[in-house]
Symmetry: C2
Subunit: 454 residues, 2 copies
């Protein structure tokens, strides 16, 4: 057993206590009332990286701060690895569905429960501890490292790409390692071959100028709830395809080899249905569930608000109806193009007697990995050493839009190595991270630094 691995194993309890401290800070980037907490989280991480042996600095942005930490003593021949993570978390509502409070982490059933355990505080913290394991007691890392932690991933990273472009020299690297994804199954280490992109909108329909009495006006005045429902109902056709004209123009048809590999994964329909709790599955005709999640685009309503939603029967004809609608994109779709198409579609289906506004809230490009090569092999080897099993290659339905930007701006190869598990409730109540993956993940990252240096 190498020195870092020994250090990790003998310090696990302390690591977990420190992680709990980090998780307790409610760094919800979408809500301005948490701005102080988000800043506090950045400072906490800068301190933790400093204690781990790196030189850390907090950089201001127009939004939440960015933390950069460096250790560059591995010499000019060693590769430079940029470790990216995000310390902000999703909102926690609806609170009543959490079994334990989102910002009071607990261990139950071999899992650490709390907002940010899986996405992404828990995972970025594994890197901090893997780095510390090498640097403890004045030892060295086999690679040069620059850690880049942002606090705006959950709100579309508006300030990250400008920051990366302005700090190309500071961030110059050979590899970008990101741990913000999951493993295909417990004990099955996983490397990502693709990520979906995102185009997220808010649509608002206004009928009457104020809420009206539904008796006095119902039947003659346009009802924004009914109009919005009708407009949303135009988004998918009967075959589960997105019925926005031109939407599929840039969707790549994946090769049969990839589709065969997906079909060969140990996916269990019953387990998936149990995990979701749905009565049945849906999706685009002609594709398997995993294909629908990874290599095909999707459309979801993320929220709707209209009229009276409290207790009892209020007979109101509402003035407004709002829906949050998002599309997951696949190579080579572009969120800007999708925005144009979506706006055109909404204009087409909006009846003349209402006012409709479309706001683009968030966009991110899809990503396709350069499978193979030194970095990919190193990641595979590291995962195998930690988990004693060959990693599988999978897609990921979620989005990490910055991946594409990192590769382009820094001319580096991205490696996506994550440790959350299916059903971990990212973005939902009762988010969790496996205790075992927390430990083996730190070890895998320690191996990864070593493998990348070979």
């Amino acid at each position: 057993m190498s020195a870092p691995i020994g250090f990790i194993r003998s310090n696990l309890d302390r690591f977990q206590e420190e992680l709990f401290e980090l998780l307790r800070i409610p760094s919800v980037s979408a809500k301005s009332e948490h701005d102080g907490d988000t800043r506090r989280t950045a400072q906490w991480l800068a301190d933790a990286l400093t204690k781990a042996g790196l030189k850390a600095e907090i950089h201001e942005t127009p939004g939440h701060p960015i933390v950069v930490a460096e250790w560059r003593k591995a010499g000019p021949d060693a590769p430079t690895v940029l470790i990216y993570g995000h310390y902000d978390v999703q909102p926690v509502e609806p609170l009543e569905l959490w079994s334990s409070p989102p910002f009071e982490p607990q261990v139950r059933e071999g899992r650490i429960w709390g907002r940010g355990t899986a996405d992404d505080k828990g995972q970025l913290f594994m890197h901090v501890k893997a780095l510390e394991a090498y640097l403890a007691d004045g030892h060295a890392l086999p690679i040069n490292v620059v850690v880049l932690l942002e606090g705006e991933e959950e709100v579309g990273s508006p300030n990250l790409v400008p920051f990366v472009k302005e700090h190309r020299d500071l961030l110059a690297c050979d590899y970008v390692v990101i741990s913000d994804s999951g493993m295909f199954a417990p004990g099955l280490p996983t490397l990502l071959f693709s990520l979906r992109g995102l185009a997220y909108f808010e649509v608002e329909v206004e009928g009457p100028a104020t809420d009206l009495h539904s008796g006095a006006y119902g039947g003659a005045v346009p009802n924004p709830g009914l109009v919005l429902a009708r407009m949303l109902d135009t988004l998918l056709d009967e075959q589960g395809r997105i019925a926005v004209e031109g939407f599929y123009d840039n969707v790549v048809d994946w090769d049969q080899e990839t589709r065969d590999a997906i079909a060969a994964l140990p996916w269990n329909r019953e387990a998936f249905m149990k995990e979701t709790g749905a009565e049945g599955l849906v999706g685009e005709e002609g594709y398997s569930t995993l294909e629908r999640l990874w290599i095909r685009p999707s459309c979801d309503v993320n929220g709707i608000l209209c009229g009276y939603t409290g207790q009892g029967a209020k007979t109101v004809l509402p003035s407004r109806a709002m829906a949050k609608v998002s599309f997951r994109l696949v190579p080579d779709q572009n969120p800007d193009r999708v925005e144009e198409l979506f706006r055109a579609h909404m204009s087409k289906v909006a009846p003349p007697e209402v006012r409709v506004q479309v706001r683009a809230l968030h966009g991110g490009r899809p990503w396709r990995a350069s499978v193979g090569g030194k970095g990919f092999d190193a990641a595979g080897a590291a995962l195998e050493r930690a988990f004693h099993k060959k990693p599988v290659l999978t897609g990921e339905g979620g989005s990490i839009p910055i991946v594409v930007d990192f590769e382009e701006v820094l001319d580096a190869q991205a490696l996506l190595v994550g440790f959350s598990l299916p059903g971990c409730n990212m973005h939902a109540p009762n988010e969790w991270l496996s205790v075992q993956n927390f430990q083996e993940g730190i070890e895998a990252l320690a191996y990864l630094y070593e493998e990348l240096a070979r």
Copy 2:
């Protein structure tokens, strides 16, 4: 000028001050946190009726209390008139749209602003003052009176019909006078020939058992927001007709005379559109706007709630979506039958991969007046004396379900004489009552008691 009219005119300032006291109590029947306020309102009215010279009593019900007050000294030959009103009010949300706080009444622009001014505290209070005008200083009323005020009209009057049935003797009467409706236009007194009924439902769609990450699951797991939109979109066809099978089976075709009378009313499309603030009007093909509002049924979405509706972009695949959906009914539709049809329709259009629940929240039968006869003529004469203009006959799009029950249980004739004006924002922010109608309405009611005694 008769003594009561003189009393009314010389006490108007005091009447208005007392009305403000009544309006300040937030008697929102739909919200249990206001239960104390609702009870306080009942007590306030019992006291006011006692001071006016009646014998008042508060009756407990399983819900909010009922106030009954009597004055029966007009002798056996004088008719008995039951005056019905409701002292509860609609919820006030969204609060930010009120120009002045809903429970802090103000006079501006010749209007009294505040929740309950028009619906119905302001109007029932006119009766209290008209009664007081007769009984002041030991004088007498020309009719026997029983006043019946409930606190649950805005939540469907669940306890009123049982109460009326149990107290047939106490409530026995020749006429039921209700002032909870409006005038067709300023200065144009109005008698109602019909009311629409109501069938109000809450529909809940559940997809996954908990909120999920829309990236990790979107495209394969049923989205309750999209499903609900699709289901709501089946409710109306392209001709603006309600597409629920069997819905029109019991809808009466009104006679040409009524339709001609409606067409002859001084209705102004531009003014109506300005009043609503909508960009255009909608409705069932083949009918005018007033017909759509009065003699044809309608369907409205009163509220929708699904997923994340706060600030920013939360990429959630929501577990649930809820809509409040209501139908206004016309003679001879029945809300129980409509419930059956609606449930059958929802079952038919619900896809198998979601769980759907339909809850009936509120129902009320439509009403059609017995136009003509002594009571109707008396009401017409009273209105003409107060407003110096012949009243018009109109329908009313809203519902007062109890009207049908009163006529049936008490074998009495209902007279609907109301004084709110178009655009008075019943059930909406910025509800108001015309100051002039407040005065002339009290006088009209004083005349009505006299005319009914002739």
